[in-house]
Symmetry: C2
Subunit: 296 residues, 2 copies
């Protein structure tokens, strides 16, 4: 099967699972489900959950065991976007070509919808542990990896640096540290969560971690390039927004040519690490190419 | 030991544990620890974690097993206060006599500090499961109870109704439903989490749930009375704030006298349920009196 076909197959599986997990209930607080669903079903790439399922598949493990963890990560990712777009944060009106959550539901509801998605991610994982007791210790390890990656040592830590650095000079080192937290942590988590669910050996964990770090970095550099070059139709948000917010990016730091050079070097390193693994890694290799060549 | 002495003993134990769990790290995102600590260590009553420890104690179980879950609930409670105070929500400048989180650290950091506390609550529980494998299934049940109580079916659900009902007429039924979610869910959770950690029988769970529901309701009615009567010095926030925000409370709905009557009736029901339990419940009985007579 071709990569694109396979990616879309995973995408449909993830979308169906997410839709199934977030059932609207007819209760007095029902509007929050609408706000949660609005952003969760806004047509994301589903890179993070697909990473989880693909790593499981590479280990020859049924991907279904990882589904609650894969979906939890996507919910955490979505909550972070809703909060990042808030007036007090990046103040963005558009995301993926649609109005941002707070522009549709108001600021208070957007804050609550974000909180609710973060909370729901954990509810889903806990419910899975309660219902399906197989591999319980592996599941707890996966939950540890995910909650750590989304917290102060991970994604939130990166957001803090991002907020505090606006309109300030940043060292290259700090920019890289920020991205490794803000974007990197939640690209590494789906890979490592899948690995522990499949009971990966220490050396396998190490190579997968290095692979995930490189694709996380490549993803961010490509994002910065797209933001710099992109136009509204392709990116679904106003282009050059980072520059407008006085944010330091790989493009503002290195220039476009050098950023591209680093992107390709990073991609080739990702491929090197994944090749060290003794398993069916075709999809994970092609995924590197997808990250480098994507146009949104 | 007298109730007050015992309460203060638990309070000191909880405060020490919270301080110990939230260690400031010297990393580029270190300011978030300051913002988290500011609100977490702002001198709350610690009612929720103390409930957890006291229920464990009543079952004759070492309270230490419940400490991560007790502290997690207090972190969730604190995050909800930080977010409730935001300009987009209740827009409060003071809480417990101190400036609110966003007044000190700015809105963006307050949003992130809230998120970080919610996330950290789950990190703590997961870490405990990973390190201390005794009673693993009970711990998972406790985590399920807590994440459910803090989510869309619980506290966040109540916040949604609260936000959507401002400046609107509310039925009595809806006000009670809102409080059972917004405040009640996170007072019930510490009691039930402790009960499952102690492997309580079904009938014990039922009586504890009814006890917890009644003290949750009593707590809210008393809060409304204090808000109506209170002055800044005692409550640590501007009094009559609910009325200023056009919020329906038990006092605005029933009047002060009737609200007090319901408060006492509710308290006596709480005492009735706790007396059905065949364990050392002296502290939990006195706690009802504390909730009814407290002045802040």
């Amino acid at each position: 099967m071709e990569f694109k076909e396979k990616y879309n197959q995973w995408l449909n599986i993830v979308n169906a699972a997410l839709e199934n997990m977030l059932e609207e209930k007819d209760n007095p607080q029902k509007n929050i489900y609408r706000a949660m669903k609005y952003s969760l079903e806004a047509g994301g790439k589903r890179l993070r959950p697909i990473l989880t399922l693909a790593v499981c598949d590479s280990f020859g493990q049924d991907y279904k065991i990882a589904m609650p963890y894969a979906c939890a990560i996507e919910m955490i990712h979505t909550y972070s976007l809703i909060h990042d777009d808030l007036p007090a944060m990046d103040n963005d009106d558009y995301r993926r070509g649609k109005l941002t959550n707070h522009k549709v539901f108001g600021e208070a509801m957007a804050i609550l919808a974000g909180n609710a998605l973060l909370n729901y991610a954990f509810e889903i994982m806990h419910q899975d542990m309660l219902k399906n007791k197989e591999f319980l210790e592996r599941k707890i390890k996966a939950a540890c990896i995910i909650s750590n990656a989304s917290g102060v040592s991970g994604m939130i830590g990166g957001q803090v640096i991002d907020i505090e650095s606006q309109n300030k000079e940043m060292t290259l080192e700090l920019v890289e540290y920020m991205h490794s937290k803000k974007t990197g942590a939640l690209i590494k988590a789906p890979v490592l969560a899948a690995a522990v669910l499949c009971d990966a050996r220490t050396d396998e964990m190490k190579y997968l971690e290095q692979y995930a770090e490189k694709i996380g970095l490549a993803f961010q550099i490509k994002d910065d390039i797209l933001d710099f070059e992109g136009d509204f139709k392709v990116m679904g948000k106003l282009s050059g927004n980072d520059a407008a917010n006085n944010k330091q990016t790989f493009v503002t730091l290195y220039g476009l040519d050098k950023a591209r050079e680093i992107l390709y070097k990073t991609a080739s390193e990702a491929l090197k690490y994944i090749s060290k693994l003794n398993f069916e890694s075709h999809f994970l290799e092609e995924l590197v190419d997808y990250i480098v060549t994507r146009d949104k």
